[in-house]
């Protein structure tokens, strides 16, 4: 778990560089809120796990990266508390949660504060290291200050505060894929840099702290679905690269969907799970009222995980699995198959491999 935190640090650092003080405050407050809630439940609730396992830090950092940098800090604290309390502690602590805690927290604030969570600010604003975005410091239970007014004072139109996905959905303006990927061009309201997340995620996958199959399946499935629709009608639908690199898809695929406790353990199941999330993301983005769909797609994928696991259990050795293609020795030509010889396979006397019907009925 420590390695996941370390691999997230470059992403966080670049995020702070993009958005300045507000982003830093958001990261710190949300993570602190998660840690405090975790500590409360571990101490008071006799839960498994402890703060030292870094899982609450991961939840906090991911949650902070997935909400706008100018999100009011008190709302961020609420999100962190809800994430750990409802997303994790309620189910019994680490390992037992059904849904990704960070996304539970985000879903909560998305429902509770729809206005605030849709208010993005452009990156690389001048003076970002000296002042906070005014909405950050909203008093608890108060409406945040209007960011549009603040942006106007900085000679930027309000549209700069919309995310590329919202711009495409509501204004029909497409951003270039390379700009999205690096997030280096100024005045774009994008989240953390997808390119950096890809690099850090690749490090995790190589060190085998994360399974490469899930991000591969999500990005592949989202890209394929978007490409099919694009090929069908390239006016109505944007190109697949825009779909893959915009919004939170990369962050979700690399860090949120791969949460071990909420994703399938079976290799086949990982492919199914990833494909489902990728497909749902594109469908929600195109056909729903929301500009972004990654969060709900992953939550639905989490909910489907037990079912996916059930139908993708691995085939045990010797039960119809494939043999190797090349081998040092062939079976001997004199080999007579058991059926030819009429031999009876000696059965193990214990452990019947199928439940006996009579037992169930009685």
């Amino acid at each position: 778990m420590r390695h996941v935190v370390w691999s997230l640090l470059p992403v966080c650092a670049f995020y702070v560089y993009q958005y300045g003080l507000s982003a830093l405050a958001s990261l710190v407050v949300v993570t602190a809120s998660c840690l405090a809630t975790e500590r409360f439940f571990v101490r008071q609730g006799g839960q498994s796990g402890d703060i030292g396992d870094y899982s609450a830090v991961i939840t906090g950092l991911l949650l902070a990266l997935s909400i706008p940098p100018g999100f009011p800090l008190w709302m961020g604290a609420v999100a962190g508390g809800v994430a750990i309390a409802l997303g994790k502690a309620l189910f019994g602590g680490i390992g037992f949660n059904v849904f990704n805690p960070a996304l539970v927290g985000r879903a909560f604030v998305q429902a509770a504060f729809p206005q605030a969570i849709a208010t993005y600010t452009p990156s690389f604003l001048p003076g970002r290291f000296h002042e906070l975005i005014p909405s950050s410091m909203a008093l608890p239970l108060m409406q945040p200050a209007d960011v549009a007014v603040w942006l106007k004072a900085k000679q930027l139109d309000a549209l700069a505060g919309a995310t590329p996905l919202a711009k495409w959905k509501f204004e029909g303006i497409l951003a270039n894929a390379d700009e999205l990927l690096t997030s280096l061009s100024g005045h774009m309201a994008v989240g953390p840099s997808p390119a950096l997340i890809l690099v850090c995620g690749a490090y995790l996958a190589l060190r085998r702290f994360m399974d490469w199959r899930i991000p591969a399946a999500i990005l592949g499935s989202a890209g394929l679905t978007a490409w099919l629709l694009f090929a069908f009608n390239d006016v109505r639908y944007p190109n697949p690269f825009f779909m893959m690199f915009s919004g939170g898809l990369i962050l979700g695929a690399m860090y949120m969907a791969t949460d071990m406790a909420t994703s399938p353990v079976t290799p086949k199941g990982m492919w199914v799970y990833g494909a489902l999330i990728g497909l749902l993301t594109v469908v929600i983005r195109y056909y729903s009222g929301l500009p972004e769909g990654v969060m709900y797609a992953i939550l639905l994928g989490n909910a489907a995980t037990p079912l996916i696991e059930k139908i993708t259990q691995p085939t045990p050795f010797g039960k119809g699995g494939r043999g190797k293609k090349s081998a040092s020795y062939p079976l001997h030509p004199g080999y007579i198959s058991r059926e030819d010889a009429g031999a009876v396979t000696p059965k193990k006397r214990f452990l019947p491999n199928k439940p006996k019907q009579t037992e169930r009925e009685s």
Partner: protein, 455 residues
């Protein structure tokens, strides 16, 4: 990484690569002196207990039969030392419970020469005669399972065996007894292979050796060349890529032939019989001399041993005596494991004897275990490492969660617990330190007892 192994065409799917730690791979096999007393447990294998045919106070010579049996799945025992039978009754057993044993006090100064046994000529003996001769030696599988060898070499009526697979993998870390036997007793091994081929009517034998032991392969190929052309058929020595648990017969057959033994079946259902190199080398030595099994090669190793090595140990030697001789001080030794570190079990007491199924004694000190001492067991976070390491293609994560809830029947019926052969890969890779394989052992034992109670 898994992808790479797929393209390399690995021996079998999944499995792990633990550090090999073969401290004693280049040390010659040495002989241990007689202990003052040996304890021969009557139960060293499955099957019914053989009954003792000696009385307290009776003098026995080394190699003399001391217990006999009529049960096909059981074997006789022979006196490992020359001396006087001192006691017949309960003594601490290897697994913990006390077991019926014969205690023999050794004559001081008696030689380690086998005094019992009639040399015979088996060059024209039939398969059945050889099987009977193997039964008389009291031989069981020396690799660890201790299954009676004559029963293993017996081909069921409707089956036909074409290949004898000789298991020289020794995939467990630390253990080197099979390695040294292959290097030093290659001629005896080839002789044993020939007997086994005649007993099973196999037309070829393949010795599977992991590729970290090329010297063993060379030694065996030399011995095959020395033996010249054989009437029994051809013998090959084959290297297979090193990976744990290659020593399992199903994995070795997968590595050599690329076929899966059907679940619940034995290698004989594909026309093969698998035997360990130590077993066959001992057979090659004992059969022509007409003697019984009185000693075996044991690897005494680990960081806690001053003179690690492979020792020829008379059966029944107490572990305390063996460790004293190899230089393992009691004060610093923390854990003594019988067998290898992956599948072995901790010794119940220092008074338990070396039996036919013990291939190694591993001594670990407190400081070797220090980095594991403070480790807690965390809840399963479903990281799927165990699923990716299980050579049998099971789902240990799911099985572990069921075991914690004592859903043993469900484990057996829906999640193939019966296929688990307790190799320990899942426990080895688990980042949460969950004792998975230990839980599975308990679950299998309970299911076994339930099945016995039902029948």
């Amino acid at each position: 990484m898994k992808l790479l192994s797929y393209f390399r065409g690995e021996a079998f799917q999944r499995g792990v690569h633990p550090p090999s730690c073969k401290l004693t791979a280049q040390t010659q096999i040495r002989r241990l002196p007689f202990p003052p007393k040996v304890v021969v447990p009557l139960s060293q294998h499955i099957g019914k207990l053989p009954h003792p045919i000696v009385k307290v106070g009776q003098e026995v010579v080394r190699g003399e039969p001391i217990a006999r049996t009529d049960d096909w799945l059981s074997v006789p025992h022979h006196a490992p030392v020359t001396g006087v039978v001192e006691f017949i009754g309960l003594r601490p057993g290897v697994r913990g419970p006390w077991v019926e044993s014969i205690v023999i006090r050794a004559h001081p100064g008696s030689s380690q020469e086998d005094l019992w046994g009639q040399p015979r000529d088996l060059s024209t003996a039939s398969g059945a005669d050889i099987l009977q001769a193997i039964w008389d030696t009291g031989m069981v599988g020396l690799g660890g399972a201790a299954f009676p060898t004559h029963a293993k070499l017996t081909v069921p009526k409707q089956a036909k065996v074409h290949t004898l697979v000789v298991n020289g993998c020794e995939c467990e870390p630390y253990l080197t007894c099979d390695h040294r036997v292959m290097v030093e007793q290659a001629d005896a091994l080839v002789a044993g292979i020939r007997y086994a081929m005649r007993a099973t009517a196999a037309v070829r034998a393949i010795v599977g050796i992991e590729d970290n032991k090329p010297d063993a392969r060379n030694a065996i190929q030399e011995a095959i060349r020395r033996a010249g052309s054989l009437p029994e058929g051809e013998i090959h020595a084959e290297l297979v890529p090193t990976k744990y648990p290659q020593g399992s017969e199903k994995m070795l057959i997968m590595a050599l032939f690329g076929v899966e033994i059907p679940a619940g079946g034995l290698p004989v259902s594909l026309g093969m019989v698998v035997n360990n190199v130590g077993t066959l080398a001992a057979l090659g030595r004992l059969l022509p001399a007409g003697r019984g099994l009185t000693e075996r090669v044991v690897t005494i190793t680990g960081p806690g041993v001053a003179r690690p090595g492979d020792y020829i140990v008379p059966l029944g030697t107490p572990i305390r005596f063996v460790l004293d001789y190899a230089g393992a001080p009691d004060a610093t030794a923390r854990q003594i494991i019988l067998g290898g570190p992956m599948m072995g079990q901790a010794a119940a007491s220092l008074d338990v004897p070396i039996t036919k199924g013990i291939s190694g004694v591993l001594v670990l000190r407190g400081e070797d275990l220090a980095d594991r001492a403070g480790l807690k067991t965390y809840p399963c976070i479903k990281c799927a490492e165990c699923v990716e390491s299980c050579p049998m293609g099971l789902n240990p994560s799911q099985l572990g969660m069921l075991a914690a809830k004592r859903e043993y029947d469900l484990m057996g019926s829906n999640f193939h617990l019966g296929e688990c052969f307790e190799c320990g890969c899942c426990t080895y890779v688990c980042p949460s330190n969950i004792p998975l394989v230990q839980q599975f052992r308990v679950a299998k034992q309970i299911l076994r007892e339930k099945a016995v109670a039902k029948s």
